[in-house]
């Protein structure tokens, strides 16, 4: 019996089979490549072609970058150093970096001023962009535009102080009377601001700019990437509130306001930006006497702001239209008046829906600021196309300069789009 039992069992495992590694084709890199790159013959073909293209691009670009020359003082010297080998002439960047960033007329010993203004921009922008930060930081944001103006343009400190006091007076009047009646507060604020500006402007002594602590820099001397950033930041921050006002105005029940907004939006959207810029730079100077003209920078800011405000208004109108009618009715049934309903219920939802569209307009607007180079303002592209490529030392250097410009713009635009994606995730309160 026992024999039979032992013999009837052919094999008894007396231990675990040693673990063997998975087949080579089912593990690690090989598996990943098999599944992702070579899963079918069509995919394999595409992989090989893509690999070839990448190789060709890199084999051309990498030696060009590694062999790059950084220390010569002209293109012909670059060519001597390279002696026929492939290599970029990056010396133009190391010699003219200051012109690319600040323009060629900004006083060189004053570069710290726009740089400081740029750094402070992050501190001022942080509480607006990241609303988890303490609200008290908004106080600095309110001061920042005037501080940045003072740092970049210099001149008498009285001008930004008067401007700030005017805005302060307007805010005070609005706080005091705006609770009772929105219209009273709004128009009272405008009157208060103008009163302060006119009285304050008369008090600033003549010629105060010449003896000022910071040397005055006229707008014409601004340039380079600084000009792009200034135009971009100013115009985006002005056109978002203006765009909201236009979007609400277009939906208003008051025919006059409604039609003004519709005509404005449709007119501006129907005109290319570059024609508006030409009007700003060329046509307006016919209407002013030679010596008393509105600053070119301000003219351009107004035109670009108008342009992007019209687009942002349409984006926000889309957001407003996407809200269910019940939201408006709910606001009404709670007894909220129009400003309250908009501020507390409608706009927070509509703006959230509109974020991708607004960011899209903002990124486009920022890149559109390079169009000012056609009206002879020396922004980054204007600097490259004009003075640098026209200098006898650097005529003929294209890839290096335009590549550097592309990198600068990419950094900013990619940053903006990453921020907007963070913002969408942060504001996602629904359960999708």
């Amino acid at each position: 019996m026992t024999d039979q039992t032992t013999n009837s069992i052919a094999f008894v495992a007396d231990g675990n089979i040693p673990q063997s590694p998975p087949p080579a084709r089912e593990t690690g890199v090989v598996k990943w490549m098999r599944e992702n790159l070579f899963s079918s013959w069509a995919n394999s073909l595409l992989t090989i072609v893509a690999g070839l293209v990448i190789y060709m691009v890199l084999s051309g670009a990498l030696p060009w970058m590694w062999n790059g020359v950084w220390t010569t003082s002209s293109l012909s010297e670059c060519r001597e150093v390279l002696a026929g080998e492939v290599g970029g002439c990056f010396s133009v960047l190391s010699e003219r970096w200051n012109q690319l960033l600040f323009g060629f007329q900004y006083p060189q010993d004053q570069y710290w001023r726009p740089t400081l203004a740029f750094v402070l921009l992050f501190i001022a922008g942080a509480p607006v962009l990241f609303f988890d930060l303490p609200r008290k930081m908004l106080a600095f944001t309110a001061v920042y535009p005037f501080l940045a103006f003072y740092l970049i343009w210099g001149g008498t400190i009285m001008a930004p102080i008067v401007a700030f006091l005017g805005m302060g007076a307007a805010a005070f009047v609005f706080q005091t009377y705006g609770k009772g009646s929105f219209a009273l507060g709004f128009f009272g604020a405008i009157v208060a601001a103008f009163a302060v500006w006119i009285i304050g402007g008369a008090l600033i002594p003549e010629g105060a700019s010449e003896t000022a602590m910071l040397q005055a820099v006229p707008s014409r001397d601004l340039g380079g990437f600084m000009l792009n950033l200034m135009l971009g930041v100013t115009c985006v921050s002005l056109s978002v509130p203006l765009g909201i006002a236009l979007a609400l105005g277009r939906q208003s029940d008051m025919p006059l306001i409604k039609w003004i907004c519709i005509i404005f939006i449709e007119f501006v959207r129907g005109v290319p930006l570059i024609t508006l810029l030409f009007v700003a730079s060329v046509m307006l100077s016919y209407f002013f006497p030679p010596d008393s003209t509105v600053d070119l920078f301000l003219r351009v800011v107004i035109m670009i702001t108008m342009f992007s405000a019209a687009y942002i208004a349409e984006v926000i109108r889309g957001g407003l239209a996407a809200l269910p009618k019940g939201q408006y009715e709910a606001a009404d049934s709670l007894g909220l008046d129009y400003p309250q309903a908009m501020r507390l219920i409608i706009l927070p939802q509509a703006l959230k829906i509109s974020i991708p569209g607004i960011v899209n307009v903002a990124v486009g607007l920022f890149k559109d600021t390079t169009l000012v180079s056609v009206i002879s303002m020396f922004d980054l592209v204007g600097m490259i196309r004009g003075p640098i490529l026209a200098s006898t030392e650097w005529a003929g250097v294209y890839w290096e300069l335009l590549g550097a410009a592309a990198i600068l713009f990419f950094i900013v635009c990619y940053g903006i789009s990453q921020y907007s994606q963070w913002l969408e995730r942060r504001l996602a309160t629904d359960h999708r």
Binding site: R79, Q105, V282, F287, D291, V294, R385, G386, I388, A390
Partner: protein, 338 residues
């Protein structure tokens, strides 16, 4: 709020408009600065250097006028203008004079209401070909592909030239000089044509300039000169005679080196009148007697400016050619200072 400021400023500006005067010379003197329109960048003619200082042949005219009027060649506000904005900038009074390689044509002088005060550079359209093509004259270019900037007078001149010589060509239209340079080097066209000074400047930037030749034919007239607004003849005279003073100085042998010595007085009465030690020429213009001496001191006489900015020792490497003095077979001829 910013908008309100703008409209407020517009009203104020509108009120002030009536007070604006026409006498440009008085405006420049009271401002203490000359507003001079230049190009946004053209090698050798006007471009800012690494320190942001404007240099070039057109810029030198601005500096000479500023020196003659204000006594300081650096009292210039250079206003960069593009081909599109240059005429409106001058017509609207934003600039006092324009020195921006602008061709003197009938319609610009008459129809656009400007006064060309002279010619500081006689240019003309030329051809550049690779040396290996073995072409020595533009008339041998039958069947060639030609890179040409669209919408310019050079395009029309080219068509005329090939038609009169009864040969054919294939145009390759391009937008800018930079693009043309790339296309030409990449071999998209056999020939590149534009103003001869532009060809020379472009060729100078090539990797191997010697592999390309500029053909001897010049097929058009492009007299480039400074211009002022129509109707202010006093100011036009100031700019005209300042420029002529530079040419006359070269003719009379006055250079920046011997200027101080000659200003004291020489036995040539024309030099004395030019430099102000004799006569009342400056007074007639409403300037100091030594306006000519100051203009020359700003950068040198015409020949020196040419040699320094675009001459044969510079990377641009232009020969004097038509721009030599009339005594040397060129066209630069200053009317008498008398």
């Amino acid at each position: 709020m910013k908008k309100s400021v703008f409209f407020g400023a517009m009203t104020v500006a509108g009120l002030a408009a009536g007070a604006a005067a026409a006498a440009t010379l008085d405006d420049v003197k009271s401002r203490g600065k000359l507003n001079c329109g230049v190009s946004t960048g053209l090698a050798g003619f006007s471009a800012p250097d690494a320190n942001g200082e404007w240099t070039g042949f057109d810029v030198a005219v601005c500096r000479a006028v500023a020196a003659a009027v204000l006594g300081d060649g650096n009292a210039v506000e250079f206003i960069p203008t593009t081909a599109k904005t240059r005429f409106t900038a001058l017509a609207s009074g934003e600039i006092d004079m324009l020195a921006r390689n602008t061709t003197w044509t009938f319609s610009r002088d008459v129809d656009l209401k400007f006064d060309f005060v002279g010619v500081n550079y006689y240019d003309g359209q030329g051809f550049m070909v690779p040396k290996e093509l073995g072409v020595s004259s533009a008339k041998e270019l039958d069947g060639a592909t030609v890179c040409i900037q669209t919408g310019t007078t050079t395009e029309l001149n080219l068509a005329d030239f090939f038609r009169t010589n009864n040969i054919s060509y294939e145009p390759v239209p391009i937008e800018t000089n930079a693009e043309a340079q790339q296309q030409y080097l990449a071999g998209s066209c056999d020939v590149y044509t534009t103003d001869a000074s532009g060809l020379a400047a472009t060729r100078a930037t090539f990797d191997a300039p010697d592999a390309h030749v500029v053909l001897p034919e010049i097929i058009s007239k492009e007299p480039l000169g400074p211009l002022v607004r129509h109707g202010d003849n006093g100011w036009g005279d100031v700019v005209r005679w300042t420029m002529q003073a530079l040419v006359a100085a070269e003719e009379l042998g006055v250079t920046s080196a011997n200027l101080a010595e000659m200003s004291g007085g020489t036995n040539n009465p024309e030099i004395n009148r030019l430099l102000g030690s004799e006569g009342t020429l400056g007074e007639m213009l409403g300037l100091d007697a030594d306006f000519g001496a100051k203009a020359i001191a700003a950068g040198g006489n015409y020949g020196e400016l040419f040699a320094k900015n675009i001459g044969e020792d510079t990377p641009i490497g232009l020969a004097r050619g038509l721009n030599a003095l009339w005594t040397e077979g060129g066209l630069q001829y200053a009317p008498p200072f008398r």
